[in-house]
């Protein structure tokens, strides 16, 4: 037994045995071991973490997944499952002593059932492809994470993905009915049902957002919704970020639940406008995008009401998209905010905290004070409807010490989110990235309970080990790190 570069134990005899046996279970092209073949799997959407897996397995049937899991269980080899690899928290980061199980070959839409408004999918089906396939029946799949062209439904379930419409239509957990999963022991389980609920504990909720820690998802049945008759978007400009924040509360207080309610600050507006040419008012301190959907009659009524509320809240300008093309353009600016910010700064660090909406002025003020203190600009993009903040800290990794300062700044933002009653992650997940911050949000008893939940599914701790829930020991070390204020006790550990 020796130790690999990432500190994980590796036993060469077991590994040779594993690869030999995998080749018996799967076709030759479905077992990858050459460095060049492993390279595309070394990271997910959070590319600061990179690591080559021992081996990549690409099964294409449920029986093959079960066989691979049984083998790994027998040999006590850890497994990391992976969908499209678009995750933003390092949840699919491979292990140098483990199998990277790619579900990429599971990309068939198995069944669209318009009579019952549901669809059964293999986990590798892309999010957007579901709505495209359902469109012929007047139906769609509601959760729409910004990566929806590429991200897959299996990954969406693992991360409980949201999107810009979740205030009204919910997250993944609200839009799925049934899962087929394979446990670490190779057992195939049906979780949930094609009916609106199922007997026993709500394992469907437990599985959603479990970040590949409990079981491997091999089939997903989703709920489909009738496409709304009409969607209309308003764009409002404000000369003060806080007025925009007030307007958000006023719309909700009026009893209107917008389909989407997004806010951007000046830095983000300018970047998005230069990138997407959406016609955003660049002199504004903040803009709000408010999408209203429903029946024709209802949308007309709500557009009038919201327009009035926006003016009363001090909007300097309110525009309504004149046609579908303009509506798409308004959204294009928002949806391209991340790549747009990527153009104006060598690097950026995307945060994903949530806060109660009323805390917005306080939190934004604090972020802007810290921004000055650290000398690092911030672009704020905000799912205002559901309190999900995405401050993007702009930095240059090539400048000495800037990454460390960025990390510390980000850390303080997440800590503030928890202090005001929010969460360290609204939709990107914990993965590797926020494992230390879990120690801020949860106490030892709660973390121990999480470990016990994992053990109920995976007693040997072989599925995606080391992610999502920190060990108590890790939290103790992290606590010490706090005291020393940024002086990392183990600089060799990855800690982005």
């Amino acid at each position: 037994m020796s130790v690999s570069e990432d500190g994980l134990p590796c036993n060469h005899d077991v590994h040779e045995d594993l690869i030999r046996k995998l080749r018996k279970l799967l076709p030759p092209e479905a077992v990858l071991t050459d460095k060049e073949d492993l390279r595309p799997f070394e990271c997910d959407g959070l590319s600061v973490y990179r690591r080559l897996p021992l081996v990549v397995a690409l099964p294409e049937t449920i029986a093959q997944v079960q066989a691979v899991m049984r083998l790994c269980h027998a040999l006590q080899v850890p497994v990391v499952a992976r969908g499209a690899g678009t995750g933003l928290s390092g949840g699919a980061l491979p292990l140098s002593n483990g199998v990277l199980l790619s579900l990429a070959k599971f990309k068939r839409i198995l069944h669209i059932d318009p009579e019952n408004a549901m669809a059964t999918l293999q986990p590798g089906v892309r999010n957007l492809a579901i709505s495209e396939a359902a469109a012929a029946h007047g139906l769609y799949y509601a959760p729409d994470p910004s990566s929806q062209i590429a991200c897959t439904i299996g990954g969406n379930v693992a991360e409980n993905s949201g999107g810009v419409h979740c205030l009204k239509y919910g997250l993944t957990v609200h839009n799925i009915l049934m899962l087929k999963v394979v446990t670490m022991e190779g057992e195939l389980l049906t979780i949930g049902a094609e009916t609106l609920d199922s007997p026993g504990y709500d394992l469907l909720a437990l599985m959603t957002g479990s970040e590949g820690m409990l079981a491997v998802i091999v089939e997903v049945t989703v709920k489909l919704l009738a496409r709304p008759e009409r969607a209309q978007v308003l764009l409002a400009a404000f000369d003060d970020v806080f007025k925009a924040g007030e307007a958000v509360g006023a719309i909700i207080a009026a009893g209107i639940i917008p389909a989407g309610l997004e806010m951007m600050d000046k830095v983000a507006i300018q970047a998005a406008e230069d990138f997407a040419h959406a016609g955003y008012p660049c002199n504004a301190e903040a803009i709000l995008l408010c999408e209203l959907d429903g029946t024709n009659a209802e949308v007309s009524e709500h557009v009038m009401e919201v327009r009035e509320i926006l003016h009363q809240s001090g909007a300097t300008e309110v525009r309504t998209a004149v046609n579908e093309a303009e509506r798409q353009l308004f959204w294009k600016g928002r949806k391209s905010a991340f790549p747009a910010v990527g153009r104006i700064s060598p690097d950026y660090y995307c945060m994903d905290g949530t806060i109660p909406r009323r805390q917005l002025p306080h939190v934004l003020r604090q972020i802007s004070l810290w921004s000055e203190e650290y000398g690092l600009p911030v672009a704020n993009v905000f799912h205002a409807g559901d309190g999900n903040l995405h401050p993007l800290i702009l930095f240059d990794a090539n400048k000495d010490g800037e990454l460390a300062r960025t990390e510390e700044f980000g850390q303080r933002i997440l800590q503030l989110c928890v202090e005001v009653g929010g969460s360290i992650t609204g939709e990107h997940g914990v993965g590797m990235e926020k494992i230390n911050q879990m120690c801020i949000q949860f106490k030892a008893a709660e973390l121990s309970q999480f470990h016990a939940v994992k053990a109920a599914f995976d007693p040997d701790g072989l599925l995606n080990p080391g992610k999502a829930v920190p060990t108590l020991q890790r939290c103790a070390e992290f606590g010490a790190m706090h005291v020393h204020h940024g002086q990392l006790p183990h600089p060799e550990l990855e800690r982005f």
């Binding site: 957002g209 909700i252 029946t295 024709n296 209802e298 609204g426 949000q441 999480f450 109920a456």
Partner: protein, 354 residues
């Protein structure tokens, strides 16, 4: 309105139960004692642990202690023009929030807006080691840690004692009306299923005694237009009908025979099981009053991919809830042990060995 935090007392009682190896039976308003299997133990009364902890209408979130009467919560929300969108049945004057969430019950609006578990954002609980813990939070999006709060919904108190629950709440619709049309059960199923792919503001749909009932809700204009589009007569008193349905106060529910809750896909044609049928949730939740053996009912329903709960009446020591597949039961047992290692909470309430 009473406000009292007795979590320390409850925690103390849990510690004593662990010490004495004496199981507990968690009780709120005792309005849902008829549900599930018989469970024995000393009563842990949570009804004195009550009061709304926080409700800021602009946040669309309400947090209350588990013993808070459901009525009190609904009144407070109504004053702010809001509601519990899952429209929970009370099944009694003293129904509490804790019991509602522990049983995971939802009313007529459920298929259109979501179930009790869909609206749970966070909770505070005592686990079987007597530890007080918090999961989830008071924000709509939160993916830190496993979703333990939603796991508590429908667990019938077998995993822990709920102390506090945070829920997402929604504005009450500005207008609402109910359309009624005479038809057969098969016609009603087709009609309700077709509505699933139409952009109409329906928020309740049922079939009862030869009539299909559709409730439209939304803005004045939306409801008016939808009525014109769908046609049909308007029921004079809309709210009382859905209320009596939700609370099982319709004469249909007064029967000497057992009442079964049959869950199927909404478009499944009428099932050939002798008895009286009432279809709610657009056909997805079907109530059956029948003296057929439960094994036969379960077999017929399983053939169309559904499941059956013996809801009222009949023996209460058998399989009240649909039995679980063996590997799933193993996971349930391990989860139970992970939360309640000494087996003190509502032992046997859902399944004999849980």
């Amino acid at each position: 309105m009473l406000e009292r935090d007795i979590s320390e007392t409850l925690q103390h009682q849990v510690h004593s139960a662990i010490g004495n190896g004496a199981p507990l039976k968690i009780e709120g308003g005792n309005s849902k004692a008829f549900l599930g299997r018989e469970s024995h133990g000393e009563i842990l009364d949570i009804s004195a642990h009550c009061g709304i902890v926080e409700h800021d209408p602009r946040e669309l979130v309400l947090t209350a202690r588990s013993g808070t009467p459901l009525k009190e919560i609904e009144t407070a929300l109504a004053e702010a023009g809001q509601m519990l969108a899952f429209e929970p049945p009370h099944f009694g004057e003293n129904a509490t929030l804790g019991g509602t969430i522990a049983c995971g019950l939802s009313g007529p609006r459920r298929p259109f807006y979501g179930s009790a578990r869909d609206f749970v954002l966070g909770c505070k609980l005592i686990n079987g080691e007597g530890e007080i813990m918090r999961f989830g939070g008071q924000v709509i999006k939160n993916v830190a840690g496993y979703d333990v709060s939603r796991l508590m919904v429908g667990a019938y108190g077998t995993l822990g004692v709920l102390l506090e629950i945070s829920l997402k709440v929604l504005p009450r619709p500005a207008a609402s009306r109910t359309l009624i049309e005479e038809c057969t059960q098969a016609e009603a199923i087709r009609k309700m299923s077709q509505l699933l792919s139409q952009p109409v503001p329906v928020d309740a749909a049922c079939y009862h005694a030869g009539h299909c009932y559709l409730r439209l809700s939304g803005s004045e204009q939306a409801v008016k237009h939808a009525h014109e589009h769908l046609g049909g007569e308007m029921l004079e008193k809309s709210d009382p009908f859905w209320h009596t349905l939700r609370e099982h106060h319709l004469p249909f529910f007064d029967s000497a025979n057992p009442l079964y809750r049959v869950m199927v896909k909404p478009a499944v044609p009428p099932l050939e099981i002798t008895g009286e049928w009432l279809l709610d949730w657009g056909g997805a939740q079907r109530w059956l009053v029948s003296d057929e053996p439960i094994a036969l009912i379960r077999e017929r329903v399983a053939n169309v991919g559904g499941h059956v709960t013996q809801f009222r009446g009949g023996a209460h020591n058998g399989e009240i809830f649909q039995p679980l597949a063996a590997p799933l039961l193993v996971i349930h047992q391990r989860l139970k042990v992970s939360f309640d290692p000494h087996g003190i909470f509502n032992q046997g309430r859902i399944y004999a060995n849980l």
